[in-house]
């Protein structure tokens, strides 16, 4: 079942000189897929991810997410869709530094108006599942990179989103932790059936996903089925 349907998406930045970043992207991603988007820097992969995450808008084309047309939304509507349908995982974690781990995880539910007690229970539950129960009351700067990324993953999961968008999720982690994080994402995809899209420029990370979408100069180059995880000759995370 199609979850994401992009048709002829174009995006141009007008900073002095017009820069045509996305040149007619057509893409469809089914529910339950574990996909990576690969490309060099400047290829337009981050812009694509931002459009998928309703953080940025596009100029022409159509974007359907879970059967809803995502176009010309008000800020309030966009915030609501992001909150309910999308979970973000960032390279730099993007945790709020003056909030504890559990408070960070609770935050999306706060914006849904969930009661304090309920969301605290839920946040604790997710932290436990990611093995961070004892770290619930620590601040981000008291945790390791891997722990921070797991807190961020818990925050992305707590609203039970349709889709998780991960922007270079291992970019700031060492190789051992990177493997752990990718294993965790893989496990979430297999066990919970959550659709996950990972943006990366690292072959080893892409190789962990089931489908690799190559993007080059604002266009989709090649879509590689990778269920056997043998891309780049079975490349591993360095």
């Amino acid at each position: 079942m199609t979850l994401i349907e992009l048709q002829d998406i174009n995006k141009t930045y007008n900073n002095g000189q017009p820069l045509h970043v996305l040149k007619g992207i057509d893409l469809s991603i089914d529910r339950g897929e574990f996909v990576s988007i690969m490309g060099a820097s400047g290829s337009g992969k981050s812009t694509l991810l931002n459009i998928l995450g309703i953080l940025d808008n596009y100029d022409t084309g159509t974007y359907m997410l879970n059967g809803k047309l995502i176009k010309d939304l008000s800020e309030t509507q966009a915030a609501d869709y992001r909150n309910r349908m999308i979970g973000f995982i960032f390279q730099s974690f993007n945790l709020i530094s003056f909030k504890t781990a559990v408070e960070n995880v609770e935050l999306p539910l706060y914006y849904q108006g969930v009661s304090r007690k309920k969301r605290h229970e839920m946040a604790m539950d997710y932290l436990e599942r990611l093995g961070l129960g004892q770290w619930a009351n620590h601040f981000p700067n008291q945790m390791s990179g891997g722990q921070k990324q797991r807190v961020a993953i818990a925050r992305a999961l707590i609203t039970k989103p349709q889709i998780i968008l991960a922007d270079e999720p291992t970019g700031a982690l060492d190789s051992k932790t990177s493997v752990e994080v990718m294993q965790l994402l893989k496990q979430l995809n297999k066990q919970e059936g959550i659709t996950i899209i990972v943006v990366t420029h690292e072959g080893g990370v892409a190789n962990e996903t089931d489908k690799i979408i190559h993007i080059k100069d604002g266009m989709i180059g090649q879509i590689e089925e990778n269920t056997s995880h043998n891309a780049w000759g079975g490349s591993v995370i360095k």
């Binding site: 931002n50 995450g53 953080l55 940025d56 800020e75 309030t76 915030a79 609501d80 992001r82 909150n83 309910r84 973000f88 960032f90 993007n94 945790l95 709020i96 003056f98 909030k99 935050l107 999306p108 706060y110 914006y111 849904q112 304090r116 925050r155 609203t159």
Partner: protein, 420 residues
């Protein structure tokens, strides 16, 4: 709401120095507003007090000598008020404007004697209402009452300084004693406060007693009454003209002969002094608010920096679902909390400053011969002012937060996330 307070507490704790500096600007503004207001009130209270002992809302009409010939009469004719004037004054024409009409007698000098102590006194016939009109302060016993007047009792209210001379050891012991005054004796029923520097002091006896013994004519020395409902000088001047001319007509005195029938213009002074008190009050508010404005600009400035510093955080919040209005209310609430808390602190300190003034400056008076003038009297601000100041604070906090909050709410999440 609890969430919001918690969020604000978090962010304020993160930036203690910044919070303290911002708070200082607002607190200082409110402190100055309250302290200035207290001093201003003290000043106008002191002013009202020094002029207010003899004036009030009451008007006194007296007859004297005409200054020009009129209606066949020569000039310099002595005019005496009488019952006709009294009836006219309390008549239907001035219903609702004139109240508490009372008449006063002339005075007669006598020697008071008690147990060998003597003192000069002048007896004046008074009505019970004179206590209010002349603001007589009774320190012991009572003033003349209606029964005294009805029964023409031989009772007397003397000043504290009379009492001191009649009974040096225990002035209050004169109450209940019969004091000789000329050929008669009066029972002292009360003492009234007399400023020792004030030259004029009289011994009050019932009006009817005076008229029965010392002045059997129907002449009235002066008519006093309370005047209500005139706020401006123009209104009052029209009253004085209409009323004065009516009295002058009764006695065939020229309409513009102010000496023939003389009207005490204490009311004008009353209007003037309350006008200047109002002006002082307004000036203080303006000064205080201007000071507060600099505080508000300070808060606004700091909030702008805060918003800039926290752009990335707002980006995160927006990415995970914060709506523009969530961000807006967060900033405005933060601004209101800073202004309200520190403003309140400034207000409390301002009140303490008023208390300090009360214990220092307000206690020092300057003796100018017949009375002591105080620079300040009750330099405090009322509850209404405190409530107004609080409202001003909350409005100010909102204003200070609006522009920064709007900026924060408008920034696109993608740009905010890129900011570092």
């Amino acid at each position: 709401m609890r969430e919001l307070i918690y969020e604000i507490g978090n962010s304020l704790r993160q930036n203690r120095l910044r919070t303290a500096l911002t708070g200082f600007a607002v607190g200082w503004g409110i402190f100055l507003l309250i302290a200035l207001m207290g001093a201003g009130n003290g000043l106008s209270n002191a002013f009202m007090n020094s002029t207010g002992e003899h004036i009030s809302k009451s008007i006194t009409v007296e007859g004297w000598r005409t200054s020009k010939p009129y209606a066949g009469y020569k000039e310099n004719r002595r005019i005496y008020l009488d019952k006709k004037d009294l009836d006219y004054t309390s008549g239907a024409e001035w219903q609702g404007v004139i109240s508490n009409v009372i008449s006063a007698t002339s005075s007669i000098s006598v020697k008071l004697l008690l147990d060998g102590n003597t003192v000069d006194g002048s007896l004046v016939g008074k009505m019970p209402e004179h206590q209010e009109v002349e603001k007589i302060k009774i320190t012991a016993g009572r003033f003349i009452n209606t029964q005294d007047v009805a029964e023409q009792r031989k009772v007397m209210v003397v000043s504290t300084s009379h009492a001191k001379e009649l009974s040096p050891n225990n002035p209050e012991a004169v109450i209940g004693q019969w004091v000789s005054a000329g050929s008669l004796a009066y029972l002292v029923v009360g003492l009234y406060y007399h400023n020792p520097n004030d030259y004029y002091r009289s011994c009050h006896i019932p009006y009817s007693t005076y008229k029965g013994i010392y002045d059997r004519s129907d002449k009235i020395e002066a008519i006093s009454f309370n005047l209500d409902g005139y706020k401006t000088l123009d209104d009052y001047e029209k009253f004085e003209k209409d009323y004065g001319n009516a009295i002058r007509r009764i006695h065939s005195v020229a309409p513009d002969d102010r000496r023939g029938v003389w009207i005490n213009n204490g009311y004008v002074r009353n209007i003037n002094s309350s006008n200047s008190a109002n002006m002082l009050n307004t000036a203080v508010w303006v000064l205080g608010l201007l000071t507060l404005v600099s505080g508000i600009v300070g808060v606004s400035n700091i909030m702008l920096i805060t918003v800039k510093e926290r752009t990335h955080e707002f980006g995160i919040r927006k990415a995970i679902g914060a709506k523009p209005r969530n961000v807006l209310s967060l900033i405005i609430a933060e601004s209101v909390v800073i202004t309200a808390v520190f403003g309140y602190l400034g207000m409390v300190l301002g009140m303490l400053a008023c208390e300090l003034m009360e214990h220092t400056v307000a206690q020092r008076g300057v003796n100018i011969g017949f009375e002591t003038i105080y620079m300040l009297k009750n330099p405090f601000v009322g509850v209404d002012t405190a409530i107004k100041a609080t409202l001003v604070l909350i409005i100010a906090g909102t204003l200070a937060g609006i522009i920064p909050a709007w900026k924060a709410a408008r920034v696109k999440p993608i740009e905010a996330l890129r900011a570092e």
